[in-house]
């Protein structure tokens, strides 16, 4: 403990509390709560480097801006579920081994359990809650219902997000391509054939075929 304290005294030359930092330029921002971010400035030979133990960030989730102050250790999954009550995104393994936490980051599917929320600052995030529009389900959601694409349903939001990313890029995927695109999602109920069928049906309905 002693050692750490000493080190700090040597390198942390200034300790700032900045309020509302970084949220000024955001048009549609949800009104930020005035909670302080906590930032030190580290003096190095190459100038000052910000070191955060809390940071104010803005997440653009399903086209809506959320400003909040978070700790560096908070994962995007944690923030979605525990802070923003967006519990459609599921937590299972917490280590990149199941896919239940899949969301889109700037359009690409990623595991939110292995993503620090701080690093999603100012990025565009899409979760399963953002798919339905005007009271109508997304065609992929609809196809999962019609084709029994789920049993217990716990893996479903993750599978749907991977499918959305696939059909954005590939309007008419072969079964092999569907399998590859969904290879980062596990279904403990083993409902794979129905899931592939649902995606295939959704791709048809989205093409108007």
């Amino acid at each position: 403990m002693e050692k750490i304290k000493k080190k700090k005294r040597k390198t942390f030359t200034r300790r700032d509390f900045l309020k509302g930092f970084g949220s000024g330029a955001l048009g549609a921002a949800v009104v930020p709560k005035l909670v302080s971010q906590d930032v030190f400035s580290l003096q190095t030979k190459e100038g000052k480097i910000p070191l955060y133990s809390k940071k104010q960030i803005t997440l653009n989730i399903n086209e809506k801006n959320y400003s909040l102050v978070i700790e560096p250790r908070e994962t995007l999954l944690h923030v979605l579920r525990e802070k923003l009550n967006l519990t459609g995104t599921k937590k299972t393994c917490s280590g990149g081994e199941c896919g239940a936490c899949t969301v889109l980051l700037d359009g690409n599917p990623i595991y939110s359990c292995l993503t620090l929320a701080i690093r999603a600052d100012n990025k565009k995030i899409t979760t399963v809650e953002g798919l339905a529009a005007d009271g109508k389900l997304h065609p992929i959601q609809q196809a999962f219902i019609e084709k029994d694409g789920y049993q217990c349903g716990f893996c479903t939001p993750g599978f749907i997000m991977s499918s959305v990313a696939l059909l954005e890029k590939n309007k008419n995927p072969l079964t092999e391509e569907i399998k590859t695109a969904l290879s980062g999602n596990l279904c403990r109920c083993g409902n794979y054939s129905k899931i592939y069928e649902a995606v295939s049906v959704a791709s048809k309905s989205m093409r108007g075929a």
């Binding site: 750490i4 580290l42 030979k45 190459e46 480097i49 560096p72 896919g99 980062g184």
Partner: protein
């Protein structure tokens, strides 16, 4: 997860300067797919994470006259979908495409893939202090060692988990490293080290050094490459064994062949004996099997991983014949 701070520097020099002051307690994070796992599992307890992604312009694939330059923050997915890479370095494309899952490929970076830590289950268990973590024993040596090394072991028997490493090895890649003392470039073959040299780490990087770029020379005329990987399941798995083969192929004769294995040693492992035995000869399944068998005489399997030898014999000939 224990708390930590996060530093968000703006230049590489700031990072190396910071790391040279902070050394052990500050950890570099690229995609974070490995580092965050290590933090969650309490294998490491950083005081702060240094965010490499706050540095601009480290993600690129640039084709130049004498080769291609790949920035450390290029994601594995970007590498996998690059058409020029697919055409000129098919082995690299195949390796990138076979890594983990689409989600992980979108997150994982090329630099992080080469610098990732081992997957040995004793290493990943926070309760176990094995030799790699400063303890006095390697628990895999007499313990559960199905997935461990058959070459290059001694003190520690990890296999290097990277799929990009063997193929970049075969392609004669070079890497550029920045440090607080300046920049340098070394062949990738000098990057990885065996536990006999240093048991606590897998490559030569010092705590204040950052891998900045990978450079691969332009393919020679007739140069072909491929990557074969065997896993216990169809996706989402590390290699049981893998092989990168590169050669100048004319008809069914191979020249300047490189055969580099993954999943068998603490670093990518070249089968030099086999390379020599097939050099300039007409390639057949028989010749390849013979050459591989000869090279495998140097293997030192542990109790549970003798099976890797048979797998290697099979993938080497399959991979090589696919280039004919």
């Amino acid at each position: 997860m224990k708390n930590f701070k996060i530093a968000q520097p703006k230049t590489i020099d700031q990072i190396t300067s910071l790391l040279s002051e902070k050394r052990d307690k500050y950890y570099l994070m690229a995609g974070g797919t490995d580092l965050l796992g290590e933090i969650k599992d309490e294998i490491i307890e950083p005081e702060a994470v240094v965010d490499l992604t706050s540095i601009p312009n480290l993600s690129y694939i640039k084709k130049e006259k004498d080769g291609v330059r790949i920035g450390a923050l290029t994601t594995v997915a970007e590498l996998a979908k690059n058409l020029m890479i697919k055409q000129e370095y098919p082995g690299l494309h195949e390796a990138a495409n076979g890594i983990a899952t689409p989600q992980l490929r979108n997150m994982a970076t090329v630099g992080g893939n080469l610098c990732q830590r081992p997957r040995c289950w004793y290493y990943r268990d926070p309760q176990v202090k094995c030799r790699k973590k400063g303890g006095s024993r390697c628990f895999a040596f007499r313990g559960k060692n199905k997935y461990h090394a058959i070459f290059g072991g001694g003190l520690c028997y990890i296999v290097h988990p990277s799929d990009l490493a063997p193929v970049l090895f075969a392609l004669d890649a070079e890497i550029f490293i920045s440090s607080s003392k300046g920049d340098k470039s070394i062949p990738l073959t000098d990057f990885f080290i065996l536990p006999k040299v240093t048991v606590s780490k897998e490559n030569i990087l010092e705590p204040d050094e950052v891998l900045k770029e990978v450079k691969i020379p332009a393919p020679k005329r007739g140069e072909k490459s491929t990557y074969y990987k065997l896993m216990e399941r169809g996706a989402w798995d590390f290699a049981l064994v893998s092989v990168a083969v590169k050669a100048n192929v004319s008809g069914d004769v191979f020249k300047d062949t490189k055969i580099v294995l993954g999943g068998v040693a603490p670093a990518p492992w070249r089968l030099k004996k086999a390379e020599n035995m097939i050099e300039g000869k007409k390639i057949t399944e028989n010749l390849l099997r013979q050459a591989t068998k000869e090279a495998l005489k140097d293997a030192r399997p542990l109790k549970e991983n003798e099976y890797k030898k048979e797998l290697i014999e099979t993938i080497v000939y399959r991979a090589a014949l696919s280039l004919v």
